[in-house]
């Protein structure tokens, strides 16, 4: 799109998108680090991840102030308005992703022992790969303003949900087999739930990117249900 007559407006919008992307990078790393700390029982990495969340919260607060200022000063319309509302919502989702990653990191400390068996975490690792790739792709879609890529992210969320359901089943089986792993499995289950929710946030972001680019709402093509209730 061509530039605004008032060029400072362009600079502000560019800075806004930059801040959202920066938040995205931090949230992505926090998520990857938290799970990596979980799998390898790396307490130091877990602690660093918890501490790192402060940076994300600070950025979020700064961005929120900037977004309100932009609305007040520029009275955005059309594409600009959509970019600003999308940034507001996406930043909110990213802040939540950071919180969920932090929660996973806290559980690493709570478990505070090597996993009884590596196999317990295999499902969680696999799910993380998928959710992380979703998050990466949606952040790329945001930066490139790519509505089609955003749509693909929304579609792929069903897969994350399906893995979550299978992990739920799996962990349930382990707990029945050996009550000594119950504590660890419950923590892992919460971690899996957090990761599943990170996937949901990636989907939210995808919907906002799609709206930002096209001005149309992305049709919700499937009902969001937690199938673990039926397990």
């Amino acid at each position: 799109m061509s530039e605004h007559t008032v060029t400072a407006y362009d600079d502000e919008l560019t800075a806004m998108a930059g801040k959202v992307a920066e938040m995205g990078g931090i949230a992505e790393k926090a998520f990857a680090d938290a799970v990596s700390a979980l799998v390898s029982q790396d307490l130091e990495l877990a602690k660093a991840t918890i501490k790192g969340d402060v940076r994300l919260d600070t950025l979020y607060n700064e961005l929120e102030v900037k977004l309100i200022e932009l609305i007040v000063r520029r009275q955005p319309m059309g594409q600009d308005l959509r970019e600003i509302t999308a940034a507001t919502r996406i930043a909110n989702d990213l802040e939540r992703v950071g919180d969920l990653a932090k929660n996973v990191a806290k559980r690493v400390i709570a478990i505070d022992s090597d996993l009884q068996s590596k196999k317990l975490a295999i499902g969680v690792e696999h799910m993380t790969e998928l959710a992380l790739s979703q998050l990466k792709q949606v952040l790329d879609a945001y930066t490139r303003k790519d509505a089609e890529a955003a749509r693909r992210v929304q579609e792929a969320d069903a897969e994350v949900d399906a893995i979550y359901t299978s992990i739920f089943r799996e962990l349930l089986t382990y707990m029945m087999e050996d009550p000594r792993v119950i504590t660890q499995c419950v923590h892992l289950l919460f971690c899996a739930k957090n990761i599943e929710r990170i996937g949901d946030h990636a989907t939210n972001i995808a919907e906002n990117v799609y709206y930002m680019v096209t001005g149309e709402r992305l049709p919700e093509d499937r009902a969001k249900v937690d199938e673990t209730g039926a397990v």
Binding site: M1, S2, E3, H4, T5, V6, Y9, R74, Q75, P76, M77, G78, Q79, D80, L81, R82, G215, E216
Partner: protein, 265 residues
Amino acid sequence: MNEMPNFEQAKTMTESKISANKVQVYYGDTHAIKDVDIEIQPRSVTAFIGPSGCGKSTFLRTLNRMNDTIDICRVEGSIKIDGENIYDPKVDPVQLRAKVGMVFQKPNPFPKSIYDNIAYGPRIHGLSRSKAELDEIVASSLQKAGLWEEVKNRLDEPGTGMSGGQQQRLCIARAIAVSPEVILMDEPCSALDPIATAKVEELIDELRENFTIVIVTHSMQQAARVSQRTAFFHLGVLVEEGLTEDIFTNPKDKRTQDYITGRFG
């Protein structure tokens, strides 16, 4: 969701108050308005926006034949109000302008008393048979314009002595007094402060219950605030017309997008 646009379209087809078709306006050799088609809904506010010189005021003025007063101006195409061609030779422009009232950019009260400002139109159109009836028209017009409480005790004072915002509402009351069906407003708030503007906007919102209002404005925020539909003009062409919320959140044409987001070079 899919039914909405069809419903809107169906409404447009059957109930338009004003229906313009292939309208051209020439000032001498200059082709100022090109091929404008628009359907204007009754009892609603339609806003015309666009950069200076885009033709929005020129087009507005075709709707009550104000352009007739300019010698070199020529209008072609068809403009119908309630299905009747207003450029038909049988139509009396004075009667037409009673039906299609107008409010201008700068408040222009007559150099007469507040009372006479309102009473002038009904008198020349013979709308009242007695002093009591005329009093009633003046009072109700001022009430509809939200001015009654402010002026009821000084109706004999000159209209020109009021504040700018009051003068503009007086001009709206004057337009209402001859019971028009359509009110055209050409940047009615550009000379007013924000509070007077808010009062006029509140008034516009109340008036749309009974009148069809077309407003030309340079303020996109104002168009967004007061109108149900918005039309964007550029270089004499009607680029895009639609629901106001759609025009300001998701315009279809690149030129509309550039204009509303402040990207016009």
